[in-house]
C-alpha cells in the first residue's frame, strides 16, 4: 500500500511517495544499530569493570569487548527480525491451536486403527458442533480470534498512528451477548477521539453491524475497550426477576367489583351528561372546538385530551 505522507521520518528522504513497509524497515534498521551500540557499550563496560578486579585493566578492556560484541550482535539480530517475531506473536493462538490439532491427529492416527480414528474424530468434531451451547461458544471465541486480526488490519491500513508505524497493542478479547469486546492499549499518536470518528469503518473491517469504543480505565487514556456489535439484544423481551421471587400460591386479593360503566360506545352517551370528574371548565387544547362531552367513555375521553 502506497501512501503519500506530508512529513518524512528522516530529513534526507524527500521523495513524495513512501511505502509504509520501507519506512518500518528503515526504522527497524536504525533501531537495530542503536540496540547493538547500546548493548555493546553497557555490556562491555560492565564486563570490563568486573574483569578488572581479576586482571590488568587493559586486559579487562579487551575481555569486555570480546563479550560485548557477540551480545550486541544478538540484540541486533533480535531487533532486526522483530517484524517477523511480531507476526509470529500475532498468530500465536492460531499457530498453537493448529500445532495441537496436527499433533493430536498424528498421534491418533499412529496409535489407533482406521475406524477408531474416524469415530474419535467424528466425536471430537461432531459433539461440540451438534450441541447448540458449545457450538455458539466455539463460534463466539472464533470471532474473538478473527476480530483481533481485523482490528490490527484497521490500525495498519487506515488509522495512521505515528511515524514509526508502531501499532496499538491489541490485548485479549472475549465474547459478549452482542459480539465481542476487545481491549486495546494505544501507542503514542492515537487517542479515543481519533478513533471515534472511524468507528463505522472499523465496523466494516470487522464484518460487524456497529463498533463502539470507550475508555477501559479512568486513570489511563491509552487503555480502551472496543465493543463489536453483530447482534441486537434490545429487540428481545426482557422479563423481570421479581416474577420469580413471589409465591405463586398467593391468595388472590378480594377486590370489590368496581362500578362498571355501561355507556361504552359513542351513541350511548348524551351530549350534556358526561363531564370529567372535578373539572371546573373545559380545557383549552388543540381540539377545543369539539365539545368535551362528545367523546365516549370517561377513560377514552381522558386519553384523547392528553
Amino acid at each position: 500500500m502506497s501512501k503519500s505522507s506530508p512529513r518524512r521520518p528522516f530529513g534526507r528522504n524527500t521523495g513524495t511517495v513512501t511505502v509504509i513497509e520501507a519506512k518500518v524497515h528503515r526504522s527497524s534498521a536504525r533501531n537495530a544499530r542503536l540496540a547493538f551500540i547500546l548493548t555493546a557499550v553497557i555490556v562491555g563496560l560492565l564486563s570490563a569493570v568486573v574483569a578488572a578486579s581479576y586482571m590488568h585493566p587493559i586486559l579487562a578492556l579487551f575481555t569486555g569487548a570480546a563479550i560485548a560484541v557477540p551480545l550486541g550482535g544478538v540484540a541486533w539480530v533480535l531487533v532486526r527480525i522483530w517484524p517477523v517475531l511480531r507476526v509470529l506473536w500475532w498468530w500465536t493462538p492460531e499457530i498453537g491451536i493448529t500445532t495441537l490439532l496436527g499433533a493430536g491427529w498424528v498421534q491418533l492416527a499412529n496409535h489407533t486403527p482406521g475406524p477408531v480414528t474416524l469415530v474419535v474424530v467424528a466425536l471430537v468434531v461432531g459433539v461440540p458442533a451438534a450441541l447448540p451451547a458449545s457450538r455458539r461458544a466455539l463460534v463466539a471465541w472464533t470471532w474473538c480470534l478473527i476480530v483481533r486480526h481485523r482490528l490490527r488490519v484497521c490500525f495498519a491500513q487506515f488509522i495512521i498512528a505515528n511515524q514509526s508505524g508502531s501499532l496499538p497493542i491489541i490485548l485479549w478479547a472475549k465474547p459478549t451477548p452482542v459480539g465481542e469486546r476487545v481491549w486495546v492499549y494505544l501507542r503514542p499518536g492515537l487517542s479515543l477521539a481519533d478513533l471515534e470518528g472511524r468507528l463505522d469503518r472499523i465496523a466494516v473491517a470487522c464484518h460487524a453491524s456497529a463498533a463502539l469504543i470507550e475508555r477501559a480505565s479512568d486513570g489511563n487514556a491509552a487503555y480502551l475497550r472496543f465493543d463489536i456489535k453483530r447482534r441486537e439484544v434490545l429487540t428481545a423481551q426482557v422479563g423481570s426477576p421479581l416474577v420469580d421471587v413471589i409465591d405463586p400460591a398467593t391468595p388472590a386479593t378480594d377486590r370489590p367489583t368496581p362500578a362498571v360503566p355501561t355507556a361504552l360506545d359513542l351513541p350511548d352517551v348524551d351530549v350534556p351528561t358526561i363531564t370529567l370528574p372535578a373539572q371546573k371548565k373545559p380545557p383549552a387544547t388543540a381540539n377545543g372546538s369539539k365539545p368535551a362531552a362528545s367523546s365516549s367513555a370517561p377513560e377514552d375521553d381522558i386519553s384523547d385530551w392528553i
Binding site: V238, S240, T250, P283, I306
Partner: protein
C-alpha cells in the same frame, strides 16, 4: 409482621427488598443488566404513546411494592396503567385533581416533618438505617393533571406542589417518578422538568422531542431517541448513573405477572390505607424545626 392468627397456607415472607437497593429496570445494549437506585433520585420518562413508559413505571412499582420500607403513592389519570397496584398502594389517585392535590399536600407535610426530624438529629439525609419508609410517588401522565383537568389555578398548584416534591423530596426519601409523552414547557414548566436527575427517553418522533426529555445537546452528540424502531417497544435512552445516555430495554411485566406480584405484595404488606380524615393542611410544623 405479626398477625393475630396464622393462616393455614403459611406465613408470607417478603423478599426482603429495599428501596435503597438498586432496582432492576432492564438490560443495556450489551445484554448486561441495568440497575438504578431510586431512593435519592427522581426519574422522568418521556416518549411517544406506546413507547414503553408504563412498562418502566410498572417495573419500578413492582420493586416498590415488594420492598419492605416502601410506600406507594400512585397518580394515574388513565386508571389502567398503575391500577393493578391499587391494593398495595397507600394512595391511588385516578382522574381527580382535587384528590391529587390533597395527597401532594400530605406528602409536602410529611416532607417538612422529615426535614425537621433530620435537623433535630443533625443529619442531612435519610438512610436505610432510619427505618422510615421511602414514599415513591409515581405519576403517569403528568400532562393530565398539569394541563388538562381542573382549573388553571388547580393545575398551577399541582405543578407547584410536584416541583416542591421533586426539588426537596430527594433527601427525605420521597422520590418522584413521572411519565409524560412530551414534557415540553406547555405541559410542565422547564423549571420542573430540569429538576429530574434521571431521564428515560422512549421513542420520539423528532430529535427535538428527544432533547426535551434527555436534556439539550444530546441529539447533536448522537443520542437521539428517534433512532429507536417504532416496533421495538420498551427500548429507551436512559441517563442515570454514568452521566451519558445508555440504550436500554426496559423489563416488561405482563398483566398477569403484575396481578401476581400485586396480589403477593398486598398479601405481605397489608397496607394501611390513608385515614379518610384530611389533616389540617394549613398548619405548619415549623415550630419544631425552629
Amino acid at each position: 409482621m405479626t398477625i393475630a392468627t396464622a393462616p393455614t397456607a403459611g406465613i408470607p415472607v417478603g423478599p426482603g427488598l429495599s428501596m435503597f437497593d438498586p432496582i432492576f429496570v432492564g438490560i443495556d445494549e450489551f445484554g448486561h443488566p441495568v440497575y438504578i437506585t431510586l431512593a435519592y433520585r427522581n426519574l422522568l420518562a418521556g416518549g411517544e404513546p406506546g413507547g414503553g413508559k408504563s412498562g418502566l413505571l410498572n417495573t419500578i412499582a413492582a420493586h416498590a411494592a415488594l420492598s419492605v420500607d416502601s410506600r406507594l403513592v400512585l397518580l394515574d389519570g388513565k386508571l389502567v396503567e398503575l391500577g393493578q397496584w391499587e391494593d398495595c398502594a397507600d394512595a391511588f389517585i385516578g382522574p381527580d385533581i382535587t384528590a391529587a392535590l390533597d395527597v401532594l399536600k400530605r406528602l409536602q407535610l410529611v416532607m417538612n416533618n422529615r426535614y425537621a426530624w433530620l435537623r433535630a438529629h443533625g443529619r442531612r439525609k435519610l438512610t436505610a438505617a432510619d427505618g422510615l419508609s421511602v414514599i415513591t410517588v409515581l405519576v403517569d401522565e403528568i400532562a393530565f393533571y398539569s394541563a388538562t383537568v381542573g382549573s388553571k389555578q388547580e393545575q398551577e398548584e399541582f405543578v407547584a406542589l410536584l416541583r416542591d416534591l421533586v426539588a426537596r423530596g430527594r433527601a427525605a426519601g420521597i422520590p418522584v417518578v413521572a411519565a409524560t409523552q412530551r414534557p415540553s414547557f406547555d405541559i410542565i414548566p422547564t423549571s420542573l422538568r430540569d429538576l429530574f436527575g434521571y431521564r428515560a427517553a422512549f421513542r420520539c418522533t423528532t430529535p427535538n422531542s428527544s432533547n426535551i426529555v434527555l436534556g439539550h445537546g444530546w441529539a447533536e452528540q448522537g443520542y437521539t431517541a428517534t433512532d429507536i424502531q417504532p416496533t421495538n417497544q420498551g427500548a429507551a435512552y436512559l441517563i442515570a448513573e454514568g452521566g451519558t445516555p445508555r440504550r436500554i430495554k426496559v423489563a416488561y411485566l405482563s398483566d398477569s405477572q403484575i396481578a401476581g406480584i400485586a396480589d403477593y405484595a398486598a398479601w405481605i404488606r397489608r397496607p394501611r390505607p390513608l385515614p379518610a380524615q384530611v389533616p389540617d393542611l394549613t398548619r405548619l410544623d415549623l415550630g419544631m424545626a425552629a
